[in-house]
């Protein structure tokens, strides 16, 4: 390889860097390094003049490699790669030394900081000398999308995509569409009927020529990578159970949640006390239009208990988000159905964050609901009332706002059961290759900036499979996911970043140690050649395989051993 021509550009970042680091000294030290043609300092390298300075130097000195010593690469790597591209350099022939976040901002001792900045710059220079020009790849994008789950999220996403003019396969495990929402009567806070929300969508999905609905079906395997997946689905829809495989480009995971099993909290007596019901059982009462105890009387006293399974140490730490408003809905519905019934509402904190929810809460209290606050991690205890008492059950609890230990009369108790990850979530996560958090919810690629994508390209999550959510948020997510996919399809072919792992076949011995290590199953074993190889498009460049390959046959592009070791040498020489 011919001696590289490296340009080093040191940023003062106003005075952010230069007030601690002697940038001039760094420049002089850089000039004497092997391959360095020119070294310059500037006030703001990221500014337009700064970037033009780089371009000019590239032309003037015929530089073929660039080092910028400035802020964190997480801040401006993109910017400077752009500058390099503009100057006709391959963006990967560029390296950054982080002398702001990890130097000038954390060190006060000028000589020491300058020494460190010099070392970091040297490391970057040594490394860039071994960088290689990299080019991305492209692959085709299959327009079909697989939607997992026929709840409100799945239905919405499917419609959105189908309206966009692309084929959708909607796979639903159960025998009907609608999901959990189909079990709900009215929805808070505007009290519109869940049935109305659903039926319209379901019929549209059923009729839509772009949508294939498969009930009684589940995904069995998913192979390939974004734009080029192959799904194997086992279905009992229609005639005899059969397994079918088809190609697709993207997946929307909308598998929803399951309700918390109330019997796990023994002192609520659910399943033993006849008039203790879960929110879903109560929804059934509401839909039948009869709010009554098991022996058919209207309740004189009703009690609603929040956070059943949520926000507690022994079950789930998180908030299930929809129960508070639903509870208020129940309070109002009971009041209007049985006006002389006294409703008490046992909550930990009233979470009324949504649009229109605070007013809803106020209305709840105006309906003369008795709000009682109980402590996190301590549960009310429900027991049968002594004979001759004017109520069925007594609920005992330490009331937080009064500091009193109190006893509440109740003929009917509604448990607001929280949401939890479905029993099959781990299986699904494994199938489509996405991760779960400690509670089993699917993890988004970025909690704030990329909430519907996952770390696996082409796999999107929507609705309550990602975390508890109310209907508006769920629908919003479903549409967002669909939108992302439509945009992806519209772009036609997919570009694949130049940074990925590749197997050097002349070195691969086919030991297959790397095969199991890839979190994205991007490594395939060719049993013909007895060699492993990496599907570039599926690779995320974590480099696990490269570090593990015992014969150094796997190369992590842009993070090769040579490049990293050159950095080590640079830091320490």
């Amino acid at each position: 390889m011919a001696e590289p021509k490296i340009g080093v550009f040191i940023c003062s970042c106003g005075t952010n860097i230069s007030h601690v680091v002697d940038t001039e000294a760094v420049r002089e030290q850089a000039l004497v390094l092997p391959g360095v043609e020119t070294a310059r300092t500037y006030r703001y390298m990221c500014s337009n003049p700064g970037q033009e300075m780089i371009g000019a130097a590239v032309r003037e000195h015929g530089l073929d490699r660039v080092v910028v010593a400035a802020c964190s690469p997480r801040m401006h790597e993109r910017t400077f790669r752009g500058a390099c591209r503009a100057a006709g350099l391959n963006p990967y022939l560029f390296e950054m030394a982080n002398i702001r976040e990890q130097c000038s901002w954390v060190h006060a001792d000028r000589p020491a900081a300058t020494l460190k900045a010099t070392a970091l710059t040297r490391a970057a220079v040594f490394r860039v000398a071994r960088n290689e020009p990299l080019d991305g790849l492209t692959a085709e994008m299959c327009p079909t999308t697989l939607v997992l789950g026929g709840g409100i999220a799945g239905l919405t996403a499917a419609l959105e995509l189908a309206e966009g003019g692309y084929p959708v396969v909607l796979v639903e495990r159960s025998d009907r569409l609608g999901g959990n929402l189909a079990r709900v009567d009215l929805t808070a806070p505007y009290l519109d009927s869940a049935r109305d929300l659903l039926t319209e969508r379901i019929t549209r999905v059923r009729r839509h020529h772009n949508i294939t609905v498969m009930l009684h079906s589940q995904l069995k395997a998913l192979s390939g990578f974004v734009g080029n997946f192959t799904a194997t689905v086992q279905t009992a829809d229609g005639e005899a159970p059969r397994t079918i495989a088809f190609r697709l480009g993207n997946v929307v995971v909308a598998t929803g949640y399951r309700e918390f099993d109330a019997s796990r909290i023994t002192h609520y007596g659910w399943g033993k006390l006849p008039n203790v019901v879960t929110s879903f059982e109560f929804e059934r009462m509401l839909r039948s239009g009869r709010i009554e105890t098991k022996d058919g009387r209207p309740p004189r006293y009703a009690a609603i208990i929040h956070c059943v399974g949520s926000r507690s140490r022994e079950f789930h730490g998180y908030c299930s988000r929809v129960c508070c408003m639903t509870a208020l809905k129940y309070a109002q519905e009971i009041k209007s159905a049985v006006p002389d019934c006294y409703v008490s509402d046992l909550y930990i904190d009233m979470h009324a964050f949504g649009k229109g929810c605070e007013d809803f809460y106020k209305r709840g209290s105006e309906a003369k609901t008795l709000f009682l606050m109980y402590g996190k991690n301590e549960h009310p205890v429900i027991r049968r009332a002594p004979p001759g008492d004017d109520c069925e059950m007594l609920i005992e609890v330490d009331e937080q706002l009064s500091g009193e230990r109190i006893e509440i009369p109740a003929d009917l108790v509604v448990l607001m059961v929280g949401m939890e990850a479905r029993e099959d979530s781990a299986e699904v996560a494994h199938l489509v290759n996405i991760s779960q958090d400690k509670d089993g919810w699917f993890i988004e690629s970025h909690p704030k900036l990329d909430p519907v994508a996952t770390t696996t390209e082409g796999i999107y999550i929507a609705g309550t499979c990602a975390a508890p959510k109310d209907i508006p948020d769920t629908v919003a997510q479903a549409r967002a996911a669909a939108g992302r996919i439509l945009a992806r399809i519209a772009r036609g072919r997919i570009e694949i970043d130049g940074v990925f792992a590749e197997v050097h076949e002349e070195r691969c011995s086919g030991c297959r140690i790397c095969n199991e290590l890839c979190p994205y199953s991007a490594i395939e074993f060719d049993s013909e050649k007895r060699r492993s190889h990496v599907i570039a498009a599926a690779c995320k460049a974590c480099g696990a395989c490269a570090a593990a390959c015992p014969s150094g046959a796997v190369k992590a592009r842009h993070f090769t051993s040579e490049q990293v070791l050159a950095q080590v040498e640079g830091l320490l020489s």
Binding site: R507, I513, E516, L517, S551, A553
Partner: protein, 321 residues
């Protein structure tokens, strides 16, 4: 090929002698060798003195095969002589190549070794505290013995080496190949490894391989092994994946894990560290304590992973800046 016979020297440094035996193991080929070459110096086989060697002109020899590591001043002296006298110096066998078994001594210290052998040894007569000295005055005259070095070196640590022939010992076929190559004058670029493959051992290993996950490691005697299946997958240690091929899969074919005598594959810097990384990666657990337990099944792992390559390890080889 010119009439002039090939001028050859063989030497045995800090080693077991197996490499010399390997040369002899080429059977009648040794005789052909004798036909084709003048064996100018070969302590194990032909009589000769260092002075003869010193007497030679620089470059007078065509080929010198140096087996064994450099452990003391004598080894180094001869190494330097052979380097000077020979056009081609070959580090022959694992010890010369990587330090080999003697190299394991570098995991302890010279003082410990001397103490164990000369001071703590139960077979010593009580009170005898004698330690070997380079020079000892004996009635008027003085006796000299080579200085025992602080550590063991690869041949390439003390002299410039032209070619490396790995193996403990190198396979006879390989020995032939090398000699023929030299005779025929068709040699690869200097400093390359002769007579071995360009991939890891698994490439030649006939055992069936699949995806690997190990929950427990076994010593060979602890488990009934499936002779068809990859040893690592059965939890039996095998350096094969991190070892250069070329030996003919000697150990795995005899139901024994590879020990790594052929050294690291071409692109590997540190055989032991590489193997470590690969092996740990396939441990099938996410729980720190369980991981510790599983790895506890690998006693004295350093000596295993670096059995032949301690002096060649990153931590001990000379780093040319």
């Amino acid at each position: 090929m010119n009439a002039r016979k090939l001028q050859v020297a063989l030497y045995w440094g800090a080693a077991c002698g197996g490499c010399d035996v390997a040369v002899l193991d080429t059977d009648e080929f040794v005789l052909d060798l004798a036909q084709a070459a003048d064996i100018r110096f070969w302590p194990i086989a032909v009589d000769g003195k260092y002075s003869d060697l010193e007497a030679m002109a620089d470059g007078e020899l065509d080929l010198a095969l140096f087996n064994g590591a450099v452990r003391n001043s004598e080894n180094e002296q001869v190494a330097k002589l052979l380097r000077a006298k020979s056009r081609i110096l070959v580090a022959f066998g694992s010890c010369a190549h990587l330090g080999g078994i003697p190299g394991l001594a570098n995991l302890t210290s010279k003082d410990d070794i001397l103490a164990t052998v000369y001071l703590g040894n139960p077979s010593l007569e009580p009170g005898n505290q004698t330690l070997p000295q380079p020079r000892t005055a004996v009635n008027g005259g003085a006796l000299e013995i080579p200085t025992f070095y602080r550590r063991v070196y690869r041949l390439s640590d003390v002299v410039d080496v032209d070619y490396f022939v790995p193996g403990c010992p190198p396979a006879p076929a390989q020995v032939k190949a090398v000699l023929l190559a030299v005779v025929g004058g068709q040699l690869p670029p200097r400093r390359s490894v002769l007579g071995a493959g360009e991939r890891a051992l698994c490439d030649e290993c006939p055992r069936a391989k699949s995806e690997k996950k190990v929950k427990r490691f076994y010593r060979p005697h602890q488990v009934v092994q499936d002779p068809q299946r990859c040893l690592l997958e059965q939890g039996i240690l095998c350096m094969g994946p991190a070892t250069r091929s070329g030996c003919g899969v000697r150990c795995p074919n005899s139901n024994q894990g590879c020990r790594g005598c052929y050294g690291p594959p071409p692109d590997v810097r540190d055989q032991g560290a590489r193997f470590l990384s690969a092996l740990a990666s396939i441990v099938d657990s996410k729980d720190p304590t369980e991981i510790e337990e599983i790895l506890a099944g690998l006693p004295d792992f350093a000596s295993f992973a670096y059995r032949f390559s301690v002096p060649a390890s990153s931590l001990q080889r000379s780093h040319r800046p």
